[in-house]
Amino acid sequence: MKISTSYPYPVLYMNNDDYQKTSFSTKIDVKEEFGEVKIEAQFYLDNPEMKRLIENHSCAYLIHVECSQTCYRQMFETYQEHLEISIATHQLRGKIVLHSFVVAKETIHSYKNEYLSDWYKGIPLTFEKGNILAIGEAIETTLIDDYTEFLNLPSIVTVTKSLKNDYMDVDIYSNNITIYLPEYEYHQYAMSAHSPLKNTILAAVIVPALVYVFSKISEANADLEEYTWYQVLDKIFQENNYRLEDVGTDVLSPLKAAQLILRKPLKASFEEIEKVHRMED
């Protein structure tokens, strides 16, 4: 759901000045447990007239939940300041977007509110069922598939054999990033798991592939957001106080991003080579 920037009626919203000295905000917590996504919302409404409308059931607090990937779109309403929602995890997948509102449950004629900005003085206001009186916080959260080991990078990167190409290629239009290696390179790579040069081989393959991936993100292709690899990387960056959207801008180059995510792969690689050399000596 997209939040509009302008409405044909006043809306109590932190991003506009339709109202003065009054506020609506929502604290939303989401957690996943035992096959259920549990959402807890606490509404903070500091506006006596709207509170009165909620008390007499002309308005309600509302949480809107949307998961585009599974075509899930539901709203949950309450007249209380606290709302608990449970949704079976199997109804959802990937990105979930939650919005909070105060909405009209029926037509409200001759609406008046002492905190309305002067601009609305003397203008007759009517709200129809479904109209929005106030907008609170919105959050986005991502459910990671059960079989995806969270924060385990190789699980979002698959290396496979290319039968035609003589050069490495990368496919990013899928839930996993797939690296295609020419046949010989692939077999060498496949045997690297127990090699003393494991990290070096990994760096030779994954670093350039990730630099490629990160250079694509900066092209601002919104389509990528829905893929698991994007969501996992997004979360890793957030937890390390970076933003995936910044990759490819002056803030963070694709080259540095790849090294951050792989935790200094060149260093790991040279340390390994040094060790091999020492063993040979």
Binding site: S4, L62, S68, R73, L92, T158
Partner: protein, 259 residues
């Protein structure tokens, strides 16, 4: 019997190396595919019960698509929506237990070597949501799921039959590309309005779907559409389309104003 699907590795191999394998698709080379999937680790068995259904394979896709939506949805009604969004499940079925059907449905594209369509028909190449309504098997399930009306005990597929009566491929993509058609109450409200028009002799075309969606998109900017009941959505869309197309409602009968 249990539902089989293909491993991530097999999926990415088939997707990524399509150019090397495409002749096997063109030639409908079952033997090659059977041997390919014999290799260890390529096929996985799920814990989902599945009896391979008999799919309609008439020459006229307009007939078979409509029937097959019901066949696939009935056979796999027990899938969770999360499972039904998995590429490896649908690509798996198209390559394994329902390969015969995949070749049947792609006959023209295989003959004309339409690689682009063969790819989007067998794999999820159009983005996660859009692919659900483009993949030749996934779209059957998803259209079934989105149009199934459990409130009609006699004929829960009455909206499905209407939706699939013609222009199935384009209709599925256009109609379900809107965010609000994810809400089945809204979807059913729109479909009920269009069924009403059709019962009154109006031939439903692609533009009816397009205009209904456009209208709700605009209205949805100022209100939470999800609060509306099916009946309210139906009435709103009806009112708008009557005006837009210049139809006149005359004692519950719809007429063209110009007629």
């Amino acid at each position: 019997m249990r539902l089989k699907f293909i491993s991530d590795e097999a999926l990415m191999d088939l997707r990524g190396n399509y150019d090397s394998y495409k002749e096997h698709y063109y030639n409908e080379d079952h033997e090659w595919f059977d041997n390919y999937f014999k290799e260890e680790g390529k096929v996985l068995e799920s814990n989902i019960q599945f009896e391979v259904p008999v799919l309609n394979m008439e020459t006229d896709y307009a007939i078979s698509d409509k029937e097959n939506v019901k066949v696939i949805y009935e056979a796999l009604k027990h899938l969770t929506v999360n499972q039904a969004t998995q590429e490896k499940l649908w690509a798996g079925l198209a390559h394994l237990q329902l390969r015969e059907f995949a070749f049947y449905r792609l006959k023209k594209d295989l003959e004309s070597k339409n690689d682009k369509r063969i790819n989007t028909a067998l794999f999820f190449k159009n983005g996660n949501k859009r692919s659900l309504f483009v993949h030749i098997l996934a779209r059957l399930w998803w259209v079934g799921y989105m149009t199934y009306d459990e409130s009609n005990k006699q004929d829960p597929y009455w909206l499905t039959n209407f939706f699939c009566s013609k222009d199935f491929s384009a209709r599925s993509v256009i109609f379900f590309s809107s965010n609000f058609t994810s809400n089945r109450t809204i979807t059913k409200g729109i479909l009920k309005c269009l069924v009403g028009f059709e019962e009154n002799g109006i031939e439903i075309k692609r533009d009816h779907f397009v205009q209904a969606n456009k209208y709700l998109n605009i209205v949805g900017g100022a209100m939470i559409l999800d609060m509306l009941t099916e009946e309210e959505v139906k009435e709103m869309v009806e009112k708008y389309l009557l005006k837009y197309f210049g139809y006149k409602l005359d004692s519950d009968k719809v007429h063209f104003v110009n007629y």
